[in-house]
């Protein structure tokens, strides 16, 4: 089922939790709502479920306007952050709950309930746990019971609030790929909320990045990571360095020297350059477009990350270099940009977010293969 969110706004006592959100979730799609706490992502999820009523705007389930529907009428499968399992009921009864509360006319026969619950527990690899109580299960198992309970009612859409938030790192990783497999198997339209970008990028077909009650960008994980369209998305996803620059006549300059970036139609004035650690090349001497001094270097997994103070303001930029290379602290280096984005600060208040496609200024010596595509 397709879900269309049309100009949804939600105010809580004068403060805007959601400020005109539009989003369409395709049938069978797995969409991640990603954002920092307070960005409105959980509120949006709860509005889709009918647990919260929007101040304005509409929700469509396929072509039906579902805005006035009650929670029960919406028939969504909701997995709560702390699972909200009924602690006084066995795992079996938890999963059967949604079937048992149906009115007599639509309630399945007891033997059908037993069969359905058993097959769901099997699907969740919980076949032997039906008689246990939630308190006797591990976090990962509880999570799967919550999922089974939500799926038992044959929901139109599966909604998950921070599905892995309460689990430790190892279990989280395992459940993540398992959930992806489950989604491919069952094909439910699914929306999940997370503040963890790795989770969102790994799991989702598309990611919607939320900030202060607005959607900043919607796109595939590749699009979100490789072409952030707003400063917020650039800053929130992955690591990036910011360098204050000036735009004049379409040229970007740092401390008076023009950076060899493809000119774009940008308004004159101060701007910020965003660059990811892997989108630099570094060389000894002064051949590159930016000069700086190495201040710190440390090993981060497979790469070495150095911090270089650049420009008159000594802005620190983080650069990843192959682990076998090292630089002396305090040594002057020259940096070239492979990819960068410029966001002008028109008026200096709210940044006007202009998408810029900037070409590498210098052909890289060690261009990481992922950028070739």
């Amino acid at each position: 089922m397709e879900i269309r969110i049309d100009r949804i706004a939600k105010e809580f006592g004068g403060s805007k939790a959601l400020d005109g959100v539009d989003l369409t979730i395709g049938s069978g799609e797995l969409v991640g709502l990603l954002g920092p706490s307070g960005s409105g992502k959980t509120t949006l999820l709860r509005i889709i479920a009918g647990l919260e009523m929007p101040t304005s705007g509409s929700i469509f389930f396929d072509s039906d306007n579902a805005s006035g529907w009650t929670v029960q009428e919406r028939r969504v499968g909701f997995v709560f952050q702390q699972y909200a399992l009924f602690r006084h009921m066995s795992v079996f009864e938890n999963v059967a709950y949604g079937l048992r509360v149906r009115p007599k006319k639509t309630r399945p026969h007891e033997t059908d309930i037993v069969r359905r619950v058993a097959s769901l527990l099997d699907l969740m690899q919980l076949g032997d746990y039906g008689r246990r109580f939630p308190a006797q299960l591990s976090g990962g198992q509880r999570q799967r019971v919550a999922l089974a309970r939500a799926l038992a009612v044959e929901p139109r859409v599966l909604l998950l609030d921070e599905p892995f938030g309460a689990l430790d790192a190892a279990v989280r990783k395992e459940l993540r790929s398992w959930l992806r497999t489950l989604h491919n198997k069952t094909g439910h339209t699914s929306v999940f909320v997370t503040h963890d970008q790795d989770e969102a990028l790994e799991l989702s077909d598309r990611v919607a990045v939320l900030n202060r009650g607005r959607i900043e960008q919607v796109g595939t994980p590749d699009a979100i990571y490789d072409s952030p369209r707003t400063p917020f998305v650039f800053g929130f996803i992955g690591t990036s360095s910011r360098i204050a620059v000036t735009i004049a006549g379409g040229q970007v300059s740092l401390d008076g020297s023009i950076l060899p970036l493809t000119p774009a139609a940008l308004p004159d004035g101060p701007a910020t350059l965003y660059v990811r650690p892997g989108d630099f090349t570094v060389a000894d001497g002064a051949n590159g477009s930016i000069h700086g001094l190495v201040t710190v270097q440390r090993r981060i997994g497979p790469v070495r990350r150095i911090e270089v103070a650049v420009g008159a303001a000594r802005a620190l930029v983080e650069i990843d270099i192959p682990a076998h290379r090292t630089f002396e602290i305090g040594k002057p280096v020259s940096i070239s940009l492979l990819r960068a984005a410029v966001f002008p600060e028109a008026g200096g208040i709210e940044p006007v977010c202009v998408e810029t496609a900037l070409m590498p200024s210098v052909l890289p010596l060690h261009q990481p293969s992922r950028w070739h595509a």
Partner: protein, 287 residues
């Protein structure tokens, strides 16, 4: 060394927070002495006095029709006040913990009012409202309804005094539990009523029982407010605590203490049940 860091440890010799043996012994002795002197001794005295002249005299105190009437009135009052406060308490706790609305903090303060007002004052308020010179006197007279110096007044005063017990017990419990379980039930298609019976009530049952117990103990033992509105009509408007007072004032000590011992037994039973409930409750929470 680990003991030195863990606060609840009471056994670790040499722990930072453990006093010397002498200090500990003295502190514990003082506590026991105090409790023994002020709590246990009076309780024992009640039973000793009641049984001073043997079991025969003890039981004859309950053969007195006035005593029987006092016991039955007390039971009646509790049987009406406790269920009503059960409903009020659940409704109040429910609305305070599950909804956001204007005047919520006012409601919380109001629930505590009977705790902070002297019972005698609350009794007097009912006299002022429903008494012969009271605000509603003409209305009550017109319909021949008697409230003050009659059973309805006693019930009203008891409800007032015992109102906070159940709500106060449930509010922190329900606040801690949050509303996710209820929301889960609703998303699964349960009607609100079904949700209440199958999810909310099982979640709060031990706290609710505990609240009912406390409420009942107070309802049966209340003296001040009831004393003001009852009028002490023997065989008609005397509850057990009032009956004890009358017997005592008549120097009928054995009978007074016999009835008092019944109230004391109620208190002890409440205490035992409360301990059992707390234990069960912890078990439930711990799984």
């Amino acid at each position: 060394m680990r003991d030195a860091l863990s606060l609840p440890s009471t056994s670790g010799a040499g722990s930072v927070l453990t006093e010397s043996l002498r200090t500990r012994t003295v502190l514990i002795a003082i506590t026991f002495l105090f409790l023994g002197l002020f709590l246990v001794l009076p309780l024992v005295a009640v039973f000793v006095e009641a049984l001073r002249k043997g079991w025969g005299v003890f039981f004859s105190a309950f053969a007195d029709p006035d005593a029987r009437s006092a016991i039955s009135l007390t039971l009646t009052v509790a049987a009406i006040a406790v269920p009503l406060n059960l409903v009020f308490g659940v409704a109040a706790a429910w609305s305070i913990t599950k909804f956001d609305f204007r005047g919520k903090s006012l409601l919380v303060t109001l629930i505590d009012l009977p705790f902070s007002v002297s019972p005698v004052v609350s009794g007097l308020v009912y006299v002022l409202l429903f008494g012969a010179q009271g605000l509603f006197a003409p209305l009550l007279k017109a319909y021949h309804i008697e409230i003050i110096f009659a059973v309805p007044g006693i019930i009203l005063a008891t409800i007032f005094v015992t109102f906070p017990f159940i709500a106060r017990e449930l509010i922190p419990l329900m606040q801690e539990q949050g509303i996710a379980d209820e929301e889960a039930a609703l998303t699964l298609g349960a009607s609100p009523l079904r949700m209440f019976w199958t999810v909310t009530l099982p979640n709060i049952k031990w706290g609710l029982l505990y609240g009912v117990l406390l409420c009942n103990a107070r309802a049966m033992g209340e003296f001040g407010a009831v004393s003001v509105v009852s009028g002490h009509v023997r065989g008609l408007t005397n509850t057990m605590p009032l009956h004890v007072e009358i017997l005592y004032n008549e120097y009928n000590f054995v009978a007074a203490f016999a009835v008092a011992s019944l109230l004391a037994l109620l208190a002890l039973a409440t205490l035992v049940l409360k301990t059992v409930l707390e234990w069960r409750f912890d078990q439930d929470v711990a799984g």
